[in-house]
Symmetry: none
DNA sequence: ACGCCTCATGAAAGTAAGTTTCATCCGTGG
DNA sequence: CCACGGATGAAACTTACTTTCATGAGGCGT
């Protein structure tokens, strides 16, 4: 046979629909009916079985197959998945996600979710973009070589500090976190050369954290600041400054996006440190995971 | 038959892949093999015939069909076109960013940062996509009407629980968090009808948290579970189930991305609750912000 | 330990979908 | 009028998909 032309199966990848409507006039009447259905609603066509589509086009399955070949497909299933893919691609991104702004008063949950997720994701991405690998490297270096690591933070940043402490601890580094300023100051006073003190403050103006970091520095420890504002007071007492890039919404609750950004930075440092000695880190992680195993139910796969 | 529960075919519209990876641990071994293939390369899977896929997963066609049903599809063809659509929608990961995977041994800091940020951002976005606004609404409703709210969580999820508690507290809701199981149990025993208990566990298998939630439920409180796995044990003791969508890797068992996903959900709930009474919430926030004002330096402009 | 039960699983039977073949139809040009 | 060629659908055929069922492994209570 070898008659069906099979128009350029090669490079119409960018627009099957366009391609089809382009060669619509060159198709036989019955095939055109099929083509029109397909072009009109690709997603719907993808859902139909070949018999279904044939019936809808008032023709036979054979014609549908011929149509497939005419537009360069191997067969109906291939057309189907291509159509599905095409249809999915042309869905435009969600409407009005408020960027960096406040949540509008009348917003419903779906809007709130979309807005928050969008801003959270952006904060993470933008933070990563502006993060200086060189500075990270220095910080990782310092942590790896440190005898002891203190992590300070208050309020919402306290959670992040605590999280970082726990992470470092899990891979066998001696790390501390203090929820209380006095204790933190006491600890800072005992730091020395080669130790590391990390202060986390979104605004960079939390006096408690600054004070403690200052103390640590005066004792010879390397100091690191993690803040959203590169020229805030905390940066003045830090040897290394890492910044987040969260544009907080007006609902400045507890600094929502900034927490995530901070955590992302923490993750990077953590992995950086862990990567310095993969074997040891992995072993430590496995050991700690095993330790809590007895507090888990359904060891195997879970189900109802 | 009527055995495979067919988890929420309703609201996984936003992310089939995500949905599948969430269900992964609850699947049988053979189905898991299929699932892994599908998740690893949806586009490729969409191209395969059922026999082909079965062979690749070293199992029978029957298992593939079972897998389809398990993830809420009618049959294989439907899965196929959904996969094709999904694959088309997703932008492929830029260059060498390992998606959901491990950081390669030789990676430098810049690579580590890019990879982590990418995965973190994805976890946030995908979580938002699959989050059911209706369930969120119910939870918000419950919190708004609650006399008291207990938030439980252990390990990494403990930070999230604590964060949520603090947020709720800041807008004037009576919320508690307990780092210790015994105290938590004691508290749960004192809950009653109209109160809310929220349990956070990434794996959904943390027995401590489950136990406490169960206790709370038996006392008549509304129970909420926040987990990555929609069919994990914790969901059995929860009236409302909220899921995150972090594909955590084995190595990074510090549950990095999942924390961010959890926090995003927490943020959504928080804003949802706050939106119920904007005036009051705003006033409360301002009051609390003012309270820590004396602990800030350089009240004026910070930043550049 | 034993038997019971449940569940996972693939073989095979059964059904539906997709593909090919082929006879028919229709219009066209000799 | 007949030969011809393309379009078309019926039906045969093939492949893909789905269901049923027997088997066997693993857990659970006795």
């Amino acid at each position: 046979m070898a008659k069906s032309p099979k128009i350029s199966a090669s490079h119409e990848s960018g627009g099957l629909i366009v391609h089809i409507s382009g060669l619509l006039p060159s198709l036989s009447p019955a095939e055109q009916r099929v083509a029109r259905l397909v072009v009109a609603d690709p997603a719907d066509a993808a859902r139909r079985t070949i018999t279904d589509l044939a019936t809808a086009a008032e023709t036979s399955e054979a014609t549908v197959i011929r149509f497939c070949r005419s537009v360069g497909m191997d067969g109906y299933p291939q057309l189907r998945i291509r159509l599905a893919a095409e249809a999915a691609r042309r869905v435009e991104p969600p409407d009005a996600r408020v960027v960096g702004g406040d949540i509008p008063p009348g917003a419903d949950l779906a809007q709130i979710i979309a807005t928050i997720a969008f801003n959270d994701a952006r904060a993470v991405e933008e933070t990563a973009e502006q993060l200086d690998p060189a500075v990270c490297e220095q910080v990782v270096e310092a942590i790896v070589g440190a005898g002891r690591i203190d992590v300070y933070g208050a309020g919402a940043s306290g959670f992040v500090a605590s999280d970082f402490q726990q992470k470092l601890h899990r891979i066998g580094r001696t790390a501390f976190y203090f929820p209380d300023v006095h204790t933190a100051l006491t600890s800072a006073a005992l730091l020395g050369r080669g130790d590391v003190a990390i202060g986390i403050s979104h605004t960079g103006t939390t006096s408690d954290v600054i004070e403690v970091l200052e103390q640590a520095r005066s004792r010879g420890a390397s100091t690191v600041a993690l803040t959203n504002f590169p020229r805030s007071p905390i940066t003045e007492v830090a040897d290394h400054v890492l910044t987040t890039a969260a544009r907080e919404t007006t609902y400045r609750s507890g600094a929502m996006a900034s927490r995530l950004a901070q955590l992302t930075v923490v993750d990077c440092l953590f992995v950086g440190v862990a990567a310095r000695n993969r074997a040891r880190a992995r072993k430590a992680l496995e050991a700690t995971a095993e330790a809590v195993q007895s507090h888990r139910v359904g060891s195997g796969r879970r189900r109802g």
